[in-house]
Amino acid sequence: MSTFSSYRSFPDATTSALAVVLVALPFVLPSVTLASELVVFAIGALSCTFLLGLVGLLSFGQGLFFGVGAYGAALILIHTSAGSLVTILAAAAMAAAAAAIVGFLSVRRRGIYFVMLTLAFAQMGYFAMLAMKDITGGENGLTGLPRPPVFAGLGALTHSHSVYAFLAAICFLAFVLTHRIATSPFGSVLRAIRENEVRADALGYDVRWFKIMALAFGGFLAGLAGAMHTIFLGLAPPNTIEPEMSERLVIMAIIGGTGSPIGALIGAGFYVLLADFLSSLWPRWLMIIAFLMIAIVLFLPNGLWGSVELLIARWRSGRVRIAPPGAVDG
């Protein structure tokens, strides 16, 4: 699996590129709502990319936190008069808390066992939602939700373009935050844990707590995406917490490549656009995605974006290049 290794300074060229892409997206894609959907799932995929690429943790349970964010946002919208921004942040915080609890239980095991646990917890989330159907609406989900302005009384989100601008801004900030964390001392510890957990422990890092905090941030990102999804759709359907959501986020992360946060954007874009394009042609398009995943894991382990980065690096090394001093990670 490819890993977050291409970090030099912050912010760097990819940050500006991301901004450009986000601005251009609604004009390049067939519809603004498609752009909004892409941006939402980019954050969802980012939660998987962050955990797998930086910490080496494969989580099949991010859908659970996506769902907590989605339902959390819905409940806040129903029961309070908070603005959209506060709703999203509060729901994401709920998801982060849930992720910390699940993480606390899951890090007691490592490797494949850990992955198994994340999948089990994803299933659990779905059944919890069904069990609490008085609160969650069960099979119907929560519908008819308002879409309040960004702040109380400011920044109305009535037009689909303003919704996109709002979601894209949050997306940008989330990516920047993730990049910041990855290049921080905390990020360097997570990287060390991914590389050699035993040595990290021997150096004095309490590996379990670092993993739990990383999982909490992953949960935050997934919950952020789920809450954005609720604002975007105006409803919180059961599929936001179904195990299939966890699977979908993992697929996006792998297809895009886990070597860089941009992979999440690419993977989400690929999935969302393919789904939009193919679902009217052939309802079983998921099978194509599954074959693609196998091909990528076996032949293109860096994913789509990672392979592009590799090509760019090869093209660049054709000229003489000396690594800038202070570039810490290789």
Binding site: L58, F127, A131, A290
Partner: protein
């Protein structure tokens, strides 16, 4: 009367639990042996269930299904191993997990393609469609037959594990693969047999449960989740763990369904979380 209801639920839970045992025992032994987790394990359960559906539809008889279900599942296991899985043994764990997961997805979509996305019923074999009286209880005959069939298999399995050379190799290999190969035992062969048998058992579990729960294309991923819970509760690589874990989870689900029907499936995951907290290695697991 309350006590009798609980007792009935426990008996019911044993029925569910035996199916969970059959579903999980292959997974846990393979995991212990090769540290290989097949995320398409639930697919084998799915294949067993849909074989039951199609065979009983075609022939009108469940008895053929009981033979073909496990065979179909073993066949699927064999094909996946030959074509795809064997290329992943040298890859990191994450890669193996993702490939098997993608395989599961492919099979799931194929099922929808061949059949359709809707849930279907599978009729109980007419011979077993009645009820049986056990003391004061009225128990469905089919469920009793399921318990008996599963019990027979459990005993057979125990016999193979404890009394045959193959079983000894499997048990030893679950503890240490290096030791076993140093003793000249072909670990690959042991693994293949265990993988196919484990798959057949999962398929058998699917076949048995088809008349009880019907079939639908997404039951594979739910089955995988349940199998994982049983492995966590019972401990990795342990036959007794799979048996105890399966029974415990089945009983928890059954008792919970009479107290809090919507929360029954949730409770089994709650039990898993509790075991994780208190005894992370599982009931029969080694730390």
């Amino acid at each position: 009367m309350q006590g009798q209801v609980v007792l009935f639920q426990i008996l019911n839970g044993v029925g569910i639990g035996m199916i969970y045992f059959l579903l999980s025992v292959g997974l846990t032994m393979i995991f212990g042996l090769m540290r290989f987790v097949n995320f398409a394990h639930g697919t084998l359960y799915l294949v067993g269930a849909y074989t039951a559906f199609s065979v009983s539809l075609l022939t009108g008889s469940m008895w053929w299904a009981l033979a073909f279900g496990p065979l179909a599942a073993a066949g699927v296991a064999l094909i996946s191993e030959r074509l795809i899985l064997r290329h992943t043994y040298d890859m990191p764990h994450e890669a193996q997990i993702l490939v098997t997961f993608a395989l599961a997805l492919i099979f799931q979509e194929s099922i929808v393609l061949i059949f359709d996305p809707l849930a279907k019923n599978v009729p109980v074999p007419s011979l077993l469609s009645g009820i049986v009286f056990i003391g004061p209880f009225v128990y469905p005959a089919y469920r009793l037959a399921v318990v008996c069939a599963a019990a027979v298999i459990a005993v057979l399995l125990w016999f193979v594990l404890e009394r045959t050379r193959f079983g000894a190799a499997l048990r030893a290999g679950s503890e240490s693969t290096e030791m076993v190969s140093l003793l000249g035992i072909n670990v690959q062969q042991v693994f293949m047999v265990a993988f196919l048998v484990g798959g057949a058992l999962a398929g058998f579990a699917g076949t048995l449960s088809a008349p009880l729960r019907g079939v639908e294309p997404f039951m594979g991923s739910e089955a995988l989740g349940v199998a994982f819970v049983v492995v966590v509760v019972g401990g990795i690589g342990s036959y007794t763990g799979a048996l105890l874990g399966g029974l415990l989870i089945g009983i928890v689900q059954s008792v919970a369904s009479s107290l809090w029907p919507e929360g029954a499936r949730l409770m089994i995951y709650g039990a898993m979380a509790l075991v994780l907290l208190v005894r992370p290695a599982g009931l029969m697991g080694r730390s």
